[in-house]
Amino acid sequence: MKYVQLVLANLGRHKLRSILTIASVALALFLFASLRSVTTTMAAAAQFGGARRLVTLNATGLVFPLPLAYGNRIKAMPGVTGLSWANWFGGRYGDGKNFFANFAVDAESYLHLYPEIVMPADQKQAFLQDRTGAIIGDRLISQFGWKLGQNVTLQGTIFQGDWTFKIDGVYHPTDPAIGDNVLIFHHDYFDERIGRAGIAGWYIVEIDDPAHAPTIAKTIDDLFRNSSSPTKTGTERQFQASFATMWGNVSFLMSTIGLAVVFAILLVTANAMMMSARERTGEIAVLKTVGFSDRLLFTLVMVEAGALALTGAAIGLGGATVLYPAINFNGAGFLPGFKVATSTLIIGALVAVGLMLASGLVPAVRAARLPIVQALRKVE
């Protein structure tokens, strides 16, 4: 503790330089935490999925629909206990800057299969009875200032025209991966408006036992293998994971950018620390003359480097941890449940320790090994 004033005095020698060094470390780790959180949030979303829910898609791809007639045939299969279907709508609200997901579902069966969507019973009932009604996640209330019972109009991007829905219910998801900024409306109304009845974007199949999932999935796909629209069935988790893998390269890119930023900042910090130590060659020689040992000087220089790196890390990682929940960030709906994971904080802290070692070791070793007489000759 008695050396604290010496460390603080040295850090305060060039206040602006110390502040900028801390700021650059903080920024680097803030960016690192943010970029990595995108990856971890997507990975967490890929883990979402009821063990008893399967998803059946058109084998050609998600954008190709399936005949609604498949529904009854799937439902009749052994081991299938429930069925629902949905269709991506892709509507836009206002200027479209604030994107949120919206899709049409077979309301009653869908809400039955997704108990994670929780809302008051009267609102649920109102929605089920209102053909042009919709339910929304509670985030949309705060985002757009909508109210229960209000009419909202979306502009169709895939299915053209203005689509007006009455907000019958506001739900809160018990699993963040469901998304709290989604608008859900009736598939019947969707069918009627587009004039192409009898299609579904995907089916959600409830099964009796998770252990039967591979068998039932194969049975469904085998059933439609030779039809005009062959299917691809998998667990809901696989369905979510397929979205995540679509982001695969983006995740890699983000991780790479994050590491590159940290590495660039590391070089800047290391340079600042070395410059600071080089400027003090004479002072280090004086301290050695007074009796400061090589080990003590090594420790003091490392503590200085650590103070810079760890303060920056605390600001950067702490800032990211506090900021995103505070502004309710969810990546415009693409990253529901966005948060800085504990693993990110641990890696960030390790990066800070690495930064301390990388920026402090060279000047600390140099200080410890400094030959006193030669150093004094330069300053005397």
Partner: protein
């Protein structure tokens, strides 16, 4: 009784391809409680001798003993610990740490001891009083005059009550008035507190304040130690 015993010391430096012999068998004793001035032209080995006594440098051959401890045989770690307890060193250009106040600079050697904060505070205050800087404790070096800086440096050198205080050209950067103040202070430390003081100087007037003057030339004592006139 000899506090500093230098026995058959050789010291050489390698400069590029040239080997420079500074001492070739120097033998010298310096008594406890003495005030000794080392004089001689540039390159005569004065500062090298001071560095050897302080344990900042090692002889190529021979032994250097201070207070019975064989300094020339110590490791770097042992030397650091030994210096912190037994050596006070004052530089020509003061070398106070600019980011610390006079008080904090003087406290530096005490940080290496087991003294409590209260005891350190007491010792620093005494040192500040002795050098006449009690009212400048919170001043940074840039806020002090050259003479005051050097007095603070002397306070730093004596605060841990070292066995020997070594000064390398302590008046080299001071005006005449400040030089006199510093030399008077050194005399007082020697006379009143019985401090062993060894000073390297070019200045004959400064050397006259010492009790003993040693002349070095090309690494040899060119005459036997003589007692300075003013100090008698």
């Amino acid at each position: 009784m000899a506090l500093v015993e230098i026995r058959d010391v050789y010291k050489s430096f390698q400069r590029d391809t040239q080997k420079i012999e500074v001492f070739t068998g120097l033998t010298l004793d310096i008594d406890e409680g003495s005030f000794t001035a080392l004089m001689g032209p540039s390159g005569s080995g004065k500062s090298t001798l001071l560095n050897l006594i302080a344990g900042l440098d090692k002889p190529t051959r021979g032994t250097v003993r201070v207070g019975g401890a064989e300094v020339s045989a110590m490791s770097a770690g042992q030397l650091a610990a030994w210096r912190s307890r037994h050596v006070g060193f004052v530089f020509q250009s003061f070398n106070l740490l600019p980011v610390l106040t006079a008080y904090q600079n003087i406290e530096l050697p005490l940080l290496l001891t087991n003294l409590s904060k209260k005891d350190r505070n007491e010792r620093v205050k005494i040192a500040l009083d002795v050098v006449g800087l009690a009212d400048r404790a919170d001043h940074y070096p840039r806020q002090l005059s050259g003479g005051q800086e050097q007095r603070a440096a002397i306070a730093r050198a004596i605060v841990a009550d070292p066995t020997v205080t070594l000064l390398d050209e302590p008046t080299g950067q001071l005006d005449a008035k400040s030089s006199q103040e510093v030399l008077t202070l050194l005399q007082r430390l020697n006379n009143e507190f019985n401090k062993t003081i060894i000073i390297v100087t070019h200045d004959a007037h400064a050397a006259e304040r010492a009790k003993t003057i040693l002349h070095l030339e090309k690494g040899d004592l060119i005459e036997k130690p003589r007692v300075a006139t003013a100090a008698r």
